[in-house]
């Protein structure tokens, strides 16, 4: 520590030495900045003197006024969304008007790369994906933030866990970064706050019986909490995909970092924006269950007594006109979707503000499900003086989610999908005139009763607040020493209720009918950081030095209480015969880091960065030890060199970057504890099944990334190509000792993993005329992962065991390999290889076409090629006789298809029957908008309204796939590093269609 401090002093001293001297001569310059296309004045444009810190911002009419030292210089004008312009000036120039050209290829975009610094995209040594507000929500209205990112990020695999309202999406950046110990999900940072993206337990998994026991969390089918963020407030999203870009985030960054910046006000006229989306949703891809008829009844039930009874039931249903399409009955609703957003922004030169309110209400395609989100935000920026400014961003959110009962269950019937897999179309389960639901003879419960009477609600109240100050300690003509400090809080208070009333069939079959589970959760993240940043120019070279520290504290308090044997209609725990604590779980974690980084930019020609972060965390076995995460990168802008004379190549950049990051053990994996169990009034302490490895270290990833960026024909076309090798070392895996020892898992550093991948992006404007402006972008990415070292025996993990398909972790194979019965002695682990869930490649195709300035059409296709799913919905449908082609006979052997598959599964003992290719093409987004002409708007609204925009759009409108269920995107166990893409009758995905009205005042 002391050594580090000394190093820091030396670095600081060196940087200070570079401060130049001040010259006495100066001249003044003024002018107006306008858009080259429309001729409209541009406010807020940065006009600076190159190689200095002298600069101003244009006012609302686009005017600027600048005093320049010396007798000549170069003026640099830059503005978000426009290409930077450099113009030579001298003491005789006087007035200089500047035309700015729109930046189609985003070269000028500023990208956050350090904890306290940013860099222009054209100087970036990493492939950092950026999503702007317009890209995020400009086309349609996705329900949650992660939903809105689909297809817009290169190298990012986004997979929904199911179609239930309110989110639940897994985001994996550049392949597999952990096998289960560290977080598989990226770190989300909103305005500097480490936000909580955990999935909060509701206990549904226990109530529905999907998994019993105390610690089974993964089949709750709850949403990950990034769903709380209001996408409307977002200005931009930057994604640091690999370790080389994310190294500065250290010990938590193995899965990458997603940096979200919210909107800020601009000085000038107060702007009011109103957005109203109204829409409907429909199930996207219902399967159309197999019809029942006497022939099918014989095929399914045989010819015995049971079959005779079924035949009678069928004939009666036909006579009463009661044949029901159960999928339509349950998933056939057409819910209304509404999203209202209002924002007010503005301010003056000292203070700017952005205030917004959002109200989203959506019902689901299954009755009694839905998602509501209320959000209010105030972002305030204030400049005390030229030297000191501060900002405060605050956000309150309330999310209410009703997700109903789908997915897995056991012995309760507490899943609509599972239940109707066994429900023939002639079943009579409708309530009588008094509202009594009859027993369902085909399963454990009446699914109509589960839908109408069951409750699965969760409410989240959340505050995300951050504040930052910037203080200029020292400013000269070409140097700046700045102190910045930032702090943030993310507080989640979550409540959940899962309830099966006592009158349900399966509850009546229990000793204490009626089951209620109350969840109470408090999560608090606090983090703060302080940095010293020193920026100086020596000749044509810019040095940016930063040193600082960061600290993160997380606490979680979770309590699940349960009551069984409920008094009629009561959910209060005091009205339960049996009251118990299902679980109480507290967690507290502190991380501390120290960061130093140096960026050197030689005239935008060669840009190099080196940095290091030292981190300690209480999640580590050795809680006091600091781990180092270095990084280094270099980018060379070949086209900026004088020798470059190729006219049509405006940018040619070669880049290489290296960095290391970490992944922490899960909380609890470093403790050896007793677990409580009551027996006959005595409280026993049971030795836990988990042992501890005293030498456990965090996971580390190192990544080497190479890339080439080029743009052609006046930046009209650009190409970005990246190749990376990301190695994750010392992966923490549960070593499974011989189970006879009573220890089932010891977290240990057992494996290395390698991801290799390429990312290509080609974008440009094929047509750019006055009346037609067409922008098009193609993204292509693929990733290959392989376990390169495994010093524990190969093992299977995830899912429901080898008979139904599971994942294999073995050296030399991808960690996403799917195996299952029958046995195969030649494969590590002893089972047959049936597939791999990782896609061969993914591709997206975005088009935005503006016609006659007022019409905008945009659409986004997403193609995932390859990757397999374990489709246990099909397994259940075959078992229950409901698969769409169950009673067909494709192979002509006289045995129905459904029976054939079940026989193959059981007699040939072949799990591969239900492991299916999950390729798809989706039309993710499509939108058509019309902006009223300016003069019409002025006339209609008498000048009160600035802009009116109307439109129609669709989200997930079409799906093309051979996969035999609702959606190839699915995960029964929620967001999983490995064991994703397993389905058990999930909530079907919906297509969403909207009418939009946007008004700016």
């Amino acid at each position: 520590m002391r050594k580090l401090y000394r190093k820091f002093q030396v670095l600081l001293a060196l940087s200070l030495l570079a401060v130049g001297t001040v010259s006495a001569q100066q001249f003044s310059l003024n002018g107006k900045v306008t858009d080259s296309g429309t001729g409209e004045p541009l406010a807020g444009v940065n006009v600076i003197v190159k190689g200095t810190t002298i600069g101003v911002i244009t006012d609302i009419d686009g005017n600027y006024n600048l005093t320049i030292p010396g007798t000549e210089g170069v003026i640099v004008a830059s503005f978000i969304g426009y290409l930077t312009k450099e113009l030579p000036v001298n003491s005789t120039t006087g007035t200089l008007n500047i035309d700015m050209v729109e930046d189609v290829t985003n070269l000028e975009e500023v990208v956050v790369t350090g904890l306290a610094s940013s860099v222009k995209r054209s100087n970036l040594a990493n492939a950092v994906s950026t999503v702007s507000a317009d890209e995020l929500l400009g086309t349609t209205d996705p329900q949650t933030l992660d939903n809105a990112l689909y297809g817009k990020l290169n190298g990012v695999n986004i997979n929904a866990n199911g179609g239930a309202p309110g989110g639940g999406i897994s985001v994996q950046l550049r392949g597999i970064s952990t096998l289960g110990a560290g977080s598989s999900q990226p770190l989300y940072i909103v305005d500097g706050v480490y936000v909580d993206n955990s999935t909060i337990r509701t206990g549904r998994t226990q109530v529905s019986g999907a998994s019993s026991g105390q610690n089974a969390t993964t089949q709750d089918n709850a949403a990950n909490r990034i769903a709380d963020l209001n996408p409307e407030d977002i200005e931009s999203i930057e994604v640091l995909k690999g370790s080389s870009a994310a190294a500065i985030y250290g010990t938590r960054a193995n899965a990458g970092v997603i940096i979200i910046t919210t909107k800020k006000g601009k000085a000038g006229k107060t702007k009011v924006s109103l957005r109203q989306d109204l829409g409907i949703a429909r199930a996207l891809n219902l399967q159309d269950f197999d019809d029942w008829n006497p022939d099918k009844i014989t095929a399914f039930f045989g010819t015995g007594e049971r079959a005779e009874a079924e035949l009678q039931a069928y004939l009666q249903a036909v006579a009463e006109g009661r044949i029901t399409n159960w999928e339509e009955e349950f998933y056939g609703e057409t819910p209304l979707l509404s999203n209202t957003q209002v924002s007010v922004s503005g301010g003056n030169e000292k203070t700017t503000f952005y205030v917004s309110g959002g109200l989203r209400t959506e019902d689901g395609i299954l009755k009694n499900t839905g998602f509501d989100r209320y959000s209010i935000r105030a972002n305030i920026d204030h400049k005390f003086s030229k030297k000191l400014d501060m900002s405060l961003n605050s956000n309150y959110i309330r999310s209410s989610t009703q997700r109903g009962f789908t997915g897995n269950q056991n012995n309760t019937g507490g899943s609509i999908g599972y239940n109707i897999a066994y429900l023939p179309s002639y079943a009579d389960i409708f309530p009588d005139a008094q509202g009594n639901y009859p027993n369902n003879p085909y399963f454990n419960d009446n699914p109509l009763a589960i839908r109408d009477l069951g409750v699965n609600d969760s409410d989240v109240d959340r505050f995300i607040v951050s504040s930052a100050i910037n203080l200029n300690l020292l400013q000269t003509d070409n140097s700046l020493l700045k102190f910045t400090a930032q702090g943030g809080i993310d507080y989640i208070s979550a409540n959940s209720l899962v309830y099966f009333p006592e009158i349900l069939q399966h509850q009546q079959a229990l000793a204490n009918p009626g089951d209620v589970m109350w969840g109470r959760n408090d999560n608090l993240n606090t983090n703060w950081q302080a940095f010293l940043i020193f920026n100086t120019n020596v000749g044509k070279t810019n040095f940016n030095t930063q040193v600082g520290t960061v600290r993160l504290h997380q606490s979680v308090e979770n309590l699940l209480t349960r009551g069984r044997g409920l008094s009629g209609g009561q959910t209060n725990l005091r009205w339960a015969t049996v009251q118990s604590i299902q679980g109480q779980f507290d967690q507290t974690v502190t991380d501390v880091g120290i960061v130093a980084q140096e960026e050197i930019n030689w005239d935008d020609k060669i840009i190099g960065t080196v940095g290091v972060r030292f981190d300690r965390s209480t999640l580590n076995r050795d809680q006091d030890k600091f781990y180092a995460f270095p990084k280094a990168s270099v980018a060379a802008n070949i086209a900026n060199f004088d020798f470059w004379t190729v006219n049509n190549v405006n940018q040619l950049k070669l880049r290489a970057a290296y960095g290391e990051t970490g992944g922490l053990p899960n909380f609890g994996n470093t403790f050896e504890s007793l677990t409580p169990q009551l027996i006959g009034g005595s409280l026993g302490g049971q030795v836990s099944v988990r042992g501890v490895d005293p030498n456990l270290e965090p996971e580390t990833a190192s990544e080497l990334e190479f890339g080439l960026d080029a743009s052609f024909f006046g930046n009209l076309i650009s190409l970005e190509a990246t190749y990376y090798i990301k190695e994750v070392n010392d992966l923490i895996l549960d070593q499974v000792p011989a189970e006879s020892t009573g220890i089932q898992a010891i977290a240990t550093n057992a494996a290395d993993l390698e991801n290799k991948g390429i990312e290509l992006a080609l974008s440009g404007s094929p047509v750019r005329t006055n009346n037609v402006n067409w922008f098009s972008k193609v993204l292509y990415w693929k990733n290959r992962a392989e376990i390169t070292r495994l010093n524990i025996p190969p093992f299977t993990t995830g899912g429901f065991g080898p008979t139904l398909g599971t994942y294999l972790i073995a050296e030399g194979l991808p960690p996403t390999t799917i195996v299952g019965t029958p046995g195969d002695a030649d494969t590590p682990g002893g089972f047959t290889m049936h597939g791999d869930r990782l896609a061969d490649f993914q591709m997206t195709f975005l088009n935005q076409i503006t016609l006659y300035k007022n019409w905008e059409l945009s659409f986004l296709f997403h193609w995932k090629q390859g990757g397999d799913n374990i489709n246990l919905s099909a397994f259940l449908w075959d078992d229950g006789g409901t698969t769409p082609n169950w009673n067909g006979d494709d192979d002509g052997d006289g045995i129905p298809n459904g029976e054939d598959r079940q026989r193959e599964w059981i007699s040939d003992n072949n799990a591969g029957v239900y492991i299916q290719d999950a390729s798809y093409v989706k039309l993710r987004e499509i939108g058509l908008y019309y902006t009223l002409p300016q003069n019409l708007t002025t006339r209609l609204f008498n000048g009160l309204v600035e802009r009116v925009k109307l439109g129609f759009s669709g989200n997930n409108l079409f799906l093309w796939t051979d996969y035999e269920s609702y959606d190839p995107e699915v995960s029964n166990f929620g967001s999983q590093p490995i064991a994703s893409n397993i389905e058990v009758t999930p909530y079907p995905t919906s297509r969403r269609m909207f009418f939009h009205l946007n008004i700016d005042f």
């Binding site: 056991n410 007793l674 049971q686 030795v687 011989a738 009573g742």
Partner: protein, 454 residues
């Protein structure tokens, strides 16, 4: 300039305040650590481990009854939510051979070994405690070792000729897998060792269950009863009779006498329910069904049938249990033994000891003793004296028949009994469900892997 340096100083100090702030060491906020009980445990801490051992000890019972019971066709587990409860457990399509990590087989392998781990921990804790007299220490250890031996029998019965590990105290350095015979001998040795420890010991702890078997003396009788069962399995007939004489064997007729034995107890949450209780006539497809052969094969008037089997008003069906014509086999009878979901279970009973006595006697050609014991059971359940042949093989058939009804669904006797008497075939096992018969369950992957890599 001076001002600047003040500010710089302020900024620097802020930076270092943040980084140098003490970070408190985080310990498990939710549970006591294992280390605390292994390091000079108090009596209160030992009591926690004793109750924990009782809890671990009871955990196998439901699973053993359901899985071994399905293997021996005592019952069918009509658990429709997972087709493998019938498909895999009945060996449909498996041709009599399981696969590694066989479906839902951890309950009769991993679970009993958790009890073994707990017993070993209790022994270590008692050995390192300074709060105990030698008598008290021996009480803890004799209790723990007896339960450990009993629990080891369960994976051994599951694995049979694959053998099992007995020395499992060090998770990263376990002993070898012993053959069936060697493991059985090791278990019998453990029981003898525990008997010595119990002799003259005192119990400084309390037990939630075990009913009348919670003193060193009565617990020793239980220890001998387990030793008698193990000796019977080892075909040491003379030893079996010796152990029985020191056990709680009571050669008297009567339903009450038959039912004497130690209990495992259940309760409402956060305790655990009796895993075999299903409310009568519950409209459910998750229920244990009495195998119809037990109804069909019963001697008319057998009180055991009336006591143990409840005829449902409406049959239950499971699409996986079908006859040769492909028709669903109705589940007509359910378990009738339990008054409620918190009724205790007696995990070894005098009725079994009487039948063990009969079997050992028959094997030693004490035919009269054997028939007398058989008749004790027959008369208790009002089916009259045994009148059949007294050839050894016929007597064994008769004893197995009585065991089938007397010990029905008591952690899987039928499958084990037929196997050890060479009768595990379709003469004795009704295969109307088109399944197959397993001799044993495959060795678990973790065990194979451990030996392959160490």
């Amino acid at each position: 300039m001076k001002n600047t340096f003040y500010k710089l100083g302020f900024a620097l100090s802020l930076i270092f305040i943040i980084s140098s702030c003490e970070v408190d060491e985080v310990e498990d906020p939710n549970n006591p650590s294992l280390g605390s009980v292994l390091n000079d445990a108090s009596k209160a801490e030992l009591q926690t481990l004793v109750s924990g051992l009782e809890a671990r000890h009871r955990a196998f019972y439901g699973s053993a009854t359901q899985m071994f019971g399905s293997f021996g066709r005592e019952l069918w587990a009509y658990f429709q939510s997972d087709a493998r409860f019938v498909a895999d457990w009945l060996g449909i399509g498996l041709d009599g051979v399981t696969y590694p990590d066989f479906f839902a087989s951890g309950g009769t392998y991993i679970t009993p070994y958790l009890a073994v781990k707990q017993a070993n921990t209790l022994i270590d804790a008692a050995n390192s405690s300074t709060a105990l007299t030698e008598q008290e220490r021996n009480g803890y250890i004799g209790f723990a070792r007896t339960i450990k031996a009993y629990q080891l029998l369960i994976p051994l019965m599951q694995q049979f000729q694959n053998g099992i590990r007995v020395d499992v105290n060090d998770p990263l350095n376990p002993g070898p897998i012993l053959s069936y015979d060697a493991a059985l001998q090791a278990i019998r040795d453990l029981l003898d060792q525990a008997q010595n420890e119990l002799n003259g010991s005192s119990f400084a702890f309390s037990l939630a269950g075990f009913d009348e078997f919670d003193t060193p003396e009565s617990f020793t009788q239980l220890n001998r009863a387990i030793a008698a069962r193990a000796s019977l399995y080892a075909e040491d007939w003379a030893g079996t009779l010796t152990h029985l004489s020191d056990s709680f064997l009571n050669l008297e007729a009567g339903a009450e006498q038959m039912n004497v034995g130690p209990t495992i107890v259940y309760g409402e949450a956060p305790d655990v329910n009796n895993p075999l209780f299903y409310p009568p006539d519950a409209a459910t497809n998750t229920i244990v069904i009495v195998h119809p052969a037990l109804i069909e094969d019963a001697i008319p008037g057998d009180l055991r049938v009336e006591n143990k089997f409840f005829k449902r008003k409406e049959a239950v069906f499971n699409p996986g249990v079908t006859d040769a014509d492909g028709n669903d086999i109705p589940g007509e009878y359910q378990d009738n033994r339990w008054a409620s979901n918190i009724a205790p279970i007696r995990f070894i009973r005098n009725e079994e000891l009487i039948l063990i006595y009969a079997e050992a006697s028959a094997k030693l050609d004490n035919t009269n003793d054997a028939v007398d014991a058989i008749n004790l059971v027959r008369n208790t359940w009002e089916i009259g004296n045994y009148t059949g042949s007294t050839l050894e093989t016929d007597l064994i058939d008769e004893i197995l028949f009585q065991r089938r009804y007397s010990l029905w669904a008591e952690a899987g006797h039928r499958w084990i009994d037929l196997r050890r008497t060479d009768r595990l075939n379709d003469t004795y096992i009704d295969l109307r469900d088109r399944g197959s018969i397993f001799n044993q369950v495959s060795r678990r992957t973790s065990e194979t892997n451990w030996d392959a890599s160490n």
